[in-house]
């Protein structure tokens, strides 16, 4: 893909309509994709009258209102939900990347009895959804006295995130030239030292995996609902879901809650989107 020029530059004789058609369709689809989100955010800053009388208008001096945000921040435990999500997602992600990179390093660098089996065993979880083991997980969490704790969620999310992480990172460690490891061995570096030397080289992959593992954990409803449904341990996804259920008729509060729940993840996405796509592209064209 290195020397690909846009098709339009190579075919100067195509009709202008033909060249613009893709843009029309793409712009139209962007509107379809974004309109619902924009509509919600926009109306969250309006009074109830404004929401119902002119839903398509941006807030004006007359219709502007923060009443929904006041309700949400006043009654719901949103800061707490947010903190719970931050802890669960952050700790799970760190441990997934740490444990996953160690296992991938071992699978890529050493030949040992059963290495293929260990690799396949860990890869099993890529296709088999962890949700199917929910009853077993619930029974185990209850017997360990971990029901309604963030630890329960973290442990399950680590198990959920590891298979794909190990699978992808193994391929990236394999691409590191052998000479590098040999040189380190020659200098008397220990195996653990070599792990710390090679891991920075797979950093782009770690970044991408980080984003792709983080989003499903942050957004998950299933495990918080089943393993940690208490108000103290609710994550932002579960907390929003329960709040919305209770306040269905308070449109201001619902719109404000939706907006508050969307903002952090959209900000993260905008910050990292370039790297996310780049890593997918790099993986395929390598």
């Amino acid at each position: 893909m290195t020397a690909t020029k846009p098709v339009s530059e190579r075919l100067p004789h195509t009709h202008w309509l033909e060249r613009l058609a893709p843009h029309f369709v793409l712009i139209a689809y962007c509107i379809v994709a974004l309109f619902p989100i924009v509509l919600i955010v926009m109306n969250s800053f309006k009074s109830r009258d404004g929401i119902f009388s002119a839903p398509f208008q941006p807030p004006t001096a007359e219709t502007f209102s923060l009443i929904g945000y006041e309700t949400v921040l006043g009654r719901a435990n949103f800061p707490n939900y947010f903190l719970n999500s931050l802890i669960v997602t952050g700790v799970s992600l760190l441990l997934i990347l740490f444990f996953g990179s160690m296992a991938a390093f071992a699978l890529s660098q050493y030949h040992f009895r059963g290495d293929v089996i260990v690799g396949l065993f860990l890869a099993l979880g890529i296709m088999v959804p962890i949700r199917l083991g929910t009853i077993g997980i619930l029974r185990m969490i209850v017997s360990l006295n971990l029901a309604n704790t963030l630890v329960a969620l973290i442990l399950v999310y680590i198990a959920q995130g590891l298979p794909l992480t190990v699978f992808i990172l193994t391929q990236f460690y394999r691409q590191i030239p052998r000479e590098l490891t040999d040189a380190a061995h020659m200098d008397g570096a220990s195996e653990y030292r070599i792990y710390t030397l090679l891991t920075p080289l797979v950093r782009p992959a770690i970044g991408a995996i980080g984003i792709f593992t983080m989003i499903p954990i942050w957004n998950d409803l299933w495990f918080p609902l089943i393993l940690a449904p208490s108000d103290q341990t609710a994550t932002i996804t579960l907390g929003t879901q329960q709040f919305l259920g209770q306040f269905v008729s308070d449109w201001n509060a619902v719109l404000a809650a939706l907006t508050l729940a969307m903002v952090p993840i959209l900000l993260m996405y905008i910050l990292f989107s370039r790297q996310m796509v780049k890593s997918v592209t790099a993986g395929a064209v390598k």
């Binding site: 339009s8 030949h111 065993f121 998950d220 959209l266």
Partner: protein
Amino acid sequence: MQTPNVHKSRSFPWHILIFLAPAVIVYTVFMIIPLIDSLRLSLYAITPDHQEVFNGLNNYVVLLTDPRWSAAFQNAFWNNVKFFIIHMVVQNSIGLLLASLLVAGGRARSVYRTLIFAPTVLSVVIIGFIWNLILSPLWGVGESILKAVGLGALFAPWLGLASSALTTLSLISVWQFIGIPMLLFYVALLGIPEELMEAARVDGAGGWTAFWRIKFPLILPTVGIVAILTFVGNFNAFDLIYTVKGAQAGPQFATDIMGTFFYRTFFGSQLQLGNQPMGATVAGMMLFIILAGVAVYLFFWQRRIATYDL
């Protein structure tokens, strides 16, 4: 596995064990053992005094043949099949269309890509509620939009009607996740060398012919990956239905799919008590369905299609 002699002379490779242990232990304890335990439980019954007794394949027989269970199971299964077909047809074909347009999109393509992918990163809970509001006759936003394009007469409370609720929910899910097939197809299309398309044009192939005769066969591996990802994701779905319709998956179970059926069976709901062995049996069936899909992919699709080294 042949181990080189060097390794034999060395002491036991503790470092390999240390590198592998944390991942293997957490994964085994919190994923593999619960899965096996759940499958084991599906072969047991729980007596009124809370004893587990071995029950053979009886739970599966009950789920498939006892009318009290089989009607609900078949309803959820066929709804799920419909959910999957709508994703395959609508999501993946629009995804492919958007991807092929993106490749021709010039400099603005990263902007389009970022914007179209945005709903995919949001939680299903948020998406479910947003559409619930937009389609609500109370707010009337959906109706006004349809009126603006002259289709006002078509509007109905789609999410509330048994005849249209499942299709509507499927399309909401399609709207949210279209970014994934788009991105995967886009990456695959980028990998096709421009020389190949050049050659096709010289031979007189138009855009349409060139796409279906040259590009599409080349991205067949990605088509397979997208199909299997959609399949596994759809037969494991739960959040959207639960958010919009609750555990009862109303109206009259018209939107019930395997995930909500599984949840209701083992966790219970207003109308029934939770039943762990039967829940485990539903999970066992879901595992069987997903593995059957994966097997079809591995043994029929991956073997049959020719892959070209580009």
